[in-house]
């Protein structure tokens, strides 16, 4: 992974010293809250419902064991012994005190981590396919270019006060695991005539006005990528609306002006700035690529794996759901579920973090990933080591076999923590998972993505859930709207609203009716929920969701 240079380390130390001084000046009264707020947000510090919240960047979701250990130590020393992994591959601490935050940032800097640009109207943490560098279906590892983009965006003088926040994701695989089409810019690594380049998708986003991204360019060469990105953000910076927060994202700029108009403006801007890019970025990219050399894979006997797979049904169930194909023969990509039934989605205790860090060191070439689906990935594990790995995960309550199933739910923090939320998300996720675990139905139901947001801003990605749940405040009562048929992959689709919302008590039975209805509607057991929905449309699902006389109008 990327190794910090002296420049990086000095930059971070200087930045942390600045923030320490800003905190001191806020506490001694030299800075007002209005003056301090944009400064703390630039450094990832929010003031939430019950406490401050520090959001730490995990660039493109990649961590090593030492970094995961440090996250655990920070959780113990300055928080409540746990952390919350988010849909932007970040980690959030829910309980820091203001005076401690500078020390937390210094501790992070010891392992080359920071909280810069995890908030504010800047270019946020760059996300990537969480199977990057390991996936069997990948053209190239997206992380080197994601790192280049991180360096380009960090403290970029032109882009510190954008009309609104700006999110970039990169993938190098055919199957989109990074929700590219719901990003301000999505970059897909492609090949044309043997040359590697990028498809550039812009104007996607969820939130109040969900939009699927549009292709701006179907092929941009590697040396043209940064000038192209700079031109796009530059055009948005000038053209994006600053009069209305709800219309300020680039998706609205693209929607209101049209992709052709935006392309013409980007072309013009690109022509102007292209000469400034003299190829230094490509030299930097080559250096970064060397840091992401693949690990030295080994050959081992698969006897232990095959024996466990044949004889241990618990191991087999886990292997069937939590493993993905690795490009290297004999290896697997392991997804560690942070969705134990009834637990808070995305939360890990400090002890669990340490277990995962040690397992990564022992069995996984010291690499971990955080997925936007709020799980932890060990990208390179030899199948021979899987039985021992699984036993250790089970002992740490990390052995849940539910990746991609109904209880593998994305949920934002919702009104249990978030100052913007209009309803809770976490208890809904907990209850759905607990209910379907009791019914012993989730393997029968098969692949099904439920995503829950506690407000219209859609941090829980509900628009692209096969079943999306949106928590709202309806006349002072929590109310939950269901959307159906959303999809966050290369076939991206925004879910359709099913009808009136449900009360907190009514939403779990509603989801149960929906899933039971699907089991009746599917043509055969291999037809997934999403396939069935696409074949039949909304009507039959609506009929099971709102049986006659039981409609619970919002």
């Amino acid at each position: 992974m990327y190794a910090y240079t002296d420049f990086d380390a000095n930059f971070l130390n200087e930045r942390n010293a600045q923030f320490r001084s800003q905190v001191e000046r806020r506490i001694d009264g030299s800075l007002t809250e209005d003056e301090f707020k944009p400064l703390r947000l630039m450094n990832g510090l929010y003031l939430q419902l019950h406490a401050y919240m520090l959001r730490v960047a995990i660039p493109y979701g990649t961590l090593n064991g030492a970094q995961m250990h440090k996250l655990a130590d920070i959780a113990d020393k300055w928080d409540k012994g746990y952390g919350h992994f988010t849909t932007r591959q970040n980690i959030q601490y829910n309980w820091p005190e203001l005076r401690d935050v500078p020390d937390m940032l210094d501790a992070l800097a010891e392992v080359n981590m920071h909280a810069i640009q995890t908030s504010g109207n800047t270019i946020r943490n760059v996300t990537a396919d969480h199977f990057a560098g390991a996936a069997a279906d990948e053209i190239a590892d997206p992380r080197p270019v994601a790192e280049l983009i991180r360096q380009w965006t960090t403290d970029h003088p032109e882009f510190q006060f954008l009309p609104r926040k700006f999110k970039i994701a990169v993938s190098g695989a055919a199957h989109d695991r990074a929700v590219l089409k719901a990003h301000d810019i999505g970059l897909q690594i492609v090949e044309r005539d043997g040359e590697r380049g990028y498809e550039v998708i812009i104007g996607g986003g969820l939130g109040r006005t969900p939009m699927i991204g549009k292709v701006l360019y179907d092929f941009v060469s590697s040396e043209d990528l940064l000038p192209t990105l700079e031109a796009v953000v530059s055009v948005y910076n000038l053209l994006g609306r600053r009069d209305n927060k709800y219309k300020a994202r680039i998706k609205i700029t693209v929607h209101e002006n049209g992709i052709e108009d935006i392309r013409a403006r980007v072309d013009a801007r690109y022509a102007l700035i292209r000469p400034q890019f003299t190829g230094v970025d490509q030299q930097m990219l080559s250096r970064i690529e060397a840091d992401f050399a693949q690990p030295s894979f080994q050959t081992k006997s698969l006897a232990a794996f095959e024996s466990a797979y044949t004889n241990d049904p618990v191991f087999r169930a886990w292997a069937d759901t939590n493993l993905a194909d690795h490009r290297e023969t004999g290896y697997a990509i392991v997804s560690i579920s942070l969705k134990a039934h009834g637990a808070t989605p995305g939360d890990a205790t400090s002890e669990q973090m340490r277990v995962m860090a040690e397992l990564a060191k022992t069995y996984g070439h010291d690499e971990l990933r955080i997925s936007h689906e709020q799980n932890v990935i060990l990208p390179h594990v030899h199948r021979a080591d899987l039985p021992a790995l699984h036993a250790a995960l089970k002992a740490a309550a990390l052995g849940t076999a539910n990746i991609g199933l109904i209880s593998d739910i994305i949920a934002c923090p919702g009104m249990d923590y978030c100052a913007l939320a209009t309803a809770r998300s976490i208890p809904i996720a907990q209850e759905i998972a607990t209910r379907f675990d009791a019914l012993k139905l989730e393997h029968e139901v098969g692949p099904l993505k439920i995503k829950i947001s506690g407000c219209i801003n859609a941090c829980g990605h509900h628009h692209v859930g096969h079943i999306g749940i949106l928590g709202l405040d309806r006349a002072g009562v929590e109310n939950y709207q269901i959307t159906l048929g959303g999809d966050g992959t290369e076939d991206a689709a925004i879910g359709e609203r099913a009808g009136p919302g449900f009360s907190a008590d009514g939403i779990i039975p509603a989801i149960e009716r929906l899933v039971m209805g699907y089991l009746d509607l599917r043509s055969e057991p291999s037809e997934t929920f999403l396939q069935t929905y696409r074949r039949l449309g909304l009507a039959p699902f609506k009929a099971v969701l709102y049986p006659e006389g039981k409609a619970n109008a919002a």
């Binding site: 806020r26 001694d28 003031l47 019950h50 406490a51 829910n94 820091p96 923590y417």
Partner: protein, 98 residues
Amino acid sequence: MAKSFKPSVITANALLEGDVVYLQGDVWVRTLEAAEILTDEADAEIRLLEASARVEEVVGVYLSAVDTTGDTTKTTHFREAFRATGPSNYAHGKQESA
């Protein structure tokens, strides 16, 4: 026509700890039960202005309506109820000291 004034408390987040506080006299207290109930609108407005000026102690000061008809002070919106008690997934925040 202006809405009639409802009994209210003054609430904010503490600058250093970030947790929810309520005003009682001149003192910021940590529980809703200990908060001073303001029943006169003119008085409440003045107290709010004074409290908002205490920028070295608190952030985001506002008036929050409460229900005083029962034995204990109750919030009138679920958001305020969560602020008063803490998150529902762990016994953290105010539930730890309760």
